[in-house]
């Protein structure tokens, strides 16, 4: 056996466990979704071929459109807010000061706690009239506001909680990115008379573009299909009130496991995958200059 062949064989052996695992538990499920989407599955193991009926159902399914809207609203609010907040935090804790270790940990700590616990915590803090937050806001005349019970407020509340949960993590990502910004460059700009804004605009920002891009892609994917779109909503509001926080993934879960419409849920899955592929493709396309080629 040539050295080359030996090396190749060894490589395949090394790769086998993970590749097979990913095939069985990620790739096949994706393929399977496209298959099951053509069936009506009744929840008692009975399959019936229905062609494109599941896809046709979608057009008239207001709840689906409502949940797509919820997810879209969530993405367009959560992603920029989380971006700005975590970037600001990163700038704040970029340079050394006394107690910086504790401050950084404090911002990251919510991310360590599970989304289930986060959901419970905020439910408790936001109990109507009695919760700590209602008490805190009572002097402002906001004591009667039901943050989780009012459709117009629930989504915003969910966004704020998500930001609180994820800001520390994104802050660390930015911090790591900021390490790549040479101090000398900033100093030089400073000597040339650049103010803080100009230093940010012309030195830091361009150098941070790869990091920013990563943060945006990552948090967009997370907001559409991440666990925060399921675990948190599931515990916090169950998609209520009046479906105001019913995200697409929660809706798919309900269809599959509460109403036993596995076939319809599978069809929805394929649509979400398609949307995701298109969105990510667009993002990659728009950021052609972002230097993300293989190293």
């Amino acid at each position: 056996m040539t050295r080359r062949r030996r090396e190749a064989l060894a490589a395949y052996a090394f790769l086998a466990p993970d590749t097979i695992g990913l095939l069985v538990f990620v790739a096949i499920p994706m393929v399977l979704a496209f298959g099951v989407a053509f069936f009506k599955v009744d929840g008692f193991g009975n399959y019936q071929y229905v062609g494109l009926a599941n896809y046709k159902l979608m057009a008239g399914d207001d709840q689906l459109w409502a949940s797509l809207k919820v997810t879209a609203m969530y993405v367009v609010t959560f992603v920029p807010i989380a971006f700005v907040v975590s970037f600001a935090l990163a700038m704040l804790v970029r340079n050394h000061f006394k107690g910086i270790g504790w401050v950084r940990s404090a911002f990251f700590l919510p991310n360590v706690v599970s989304l289930v616990v986060v959901g419970l915590i905020w439910q408790f803090l936001l109990v109507d009239k009695r919760g700590a937050l209602s008490r805190l806001l009572a002097p402002l005349g906001l004591g009667d506001v039901s943050f989780l019970g009012t459709p117009s407020l629930a989504l915003g509340t969910y966004v704020v909680i998500s930001v609180w949960f994820l800001m520390g993590y994104q802050m660390l990502v930015f911090l790591a990115g900021l390490k790549d910004v040479p101090k000398e460059l900033e100093d030089a700009a400073s000597i040339d008379g650049a103010g803080p804004w100009q230093r940010f605009r012309y030195v830091i920002w361009p150098l941070l573009r790869p990091t920013s891009f990563f943060v945006v892609v990552n948090s967009t994917i997370g907001a559409v299909t991440g666990l925060q779109a399921f675990d948190l909503v599931f515990v916090l509001t169950k998609g209520g009130p009046a479906r105001a926080t019913s995200t697409v993934v929660l809706y798919i879960y309900e269809q599959a496991f509460t109403f036993n419409n596995m076939g319809y849920a599978a069809a929805l899955t394929t649509v979400v995958v398609a949307i995701l592929v298109v969105c990510t493709g667009l993002m990659f396309g728009f950021t052609r200059g972002g230097r993300f080629d293989e190293d």
Binding site: A106, F107, V112, A176, V249
Partner: protein
Amino acid sequence: MRIRFFPILAHVLALIAVAPLLWILISALKPAEEVFNFGWPAQWTLDNLQYVLLKIPMPRFMLNSAIVSVAVTVIALFFHSMAAYALARLRFPGRGIIFSGIMSTLLVSLPVILVPLFLVAKQLGLLDSYAGLIVPSIFHAFGIFLLRQYYLNIPRELEEAADLDGCGYWRRYWSVILPLSRPVLASLSVLFFLANWNAFLWPLTITRNPDLRVIQLGVSGMQGQYASAWNLILAAAVIAAIPTVVVFVAGQKRLVDAMKTTGLK
């Protein structure tokens, strides 16, 4: 002036950020009738924690979570480092395609494939078992990617020295690469442990046997059984969170290192 202002602001914001967590901790130590009192408890109590630990099978839930998290972490790191080694250091036909294939699965998150994955798990007889909790959770491209990045940076000479001694590829991996990757594996194990300890959706979907409940299911289930007993629900939440906070504090440096060295250098 500026130098003093921002650190103070940072401290204040940090306090606000952890305030909800501290409030929960305090509330869990209040007697039932005081739980909604807005202030320091008139009297501290461990009753809630005791009740949750003794009357509710919380220790069992934690044991389940520990078994699953540790098993997934160990097996996943082993498999991922093997795959990453091949991708980073070995030449073979189809490397590019396999690498892209693996990376493309990064786009797919659990909620998206939940329904078909459930059907696959059902076919494989994995429902309602430890295997079902563990096996599908092992495979994730993220770890492979990070380890590959790390391995790309290990100097070739180290490996070649081993080669001169006539080591096979397995020996090279086992006695050169693996020991060298101890720091990165330690960092990743913190992340993996946290992610699996906090897992909720998959266990929710495939387990029904109460003996297999993991901690997150146990805590969320508290709401069903003790809907109005916030003192107990909070005590359970605190208990579920303690291990993660401990792991975080202990592994904090590694976590940050991992970010710096592998992902974003």
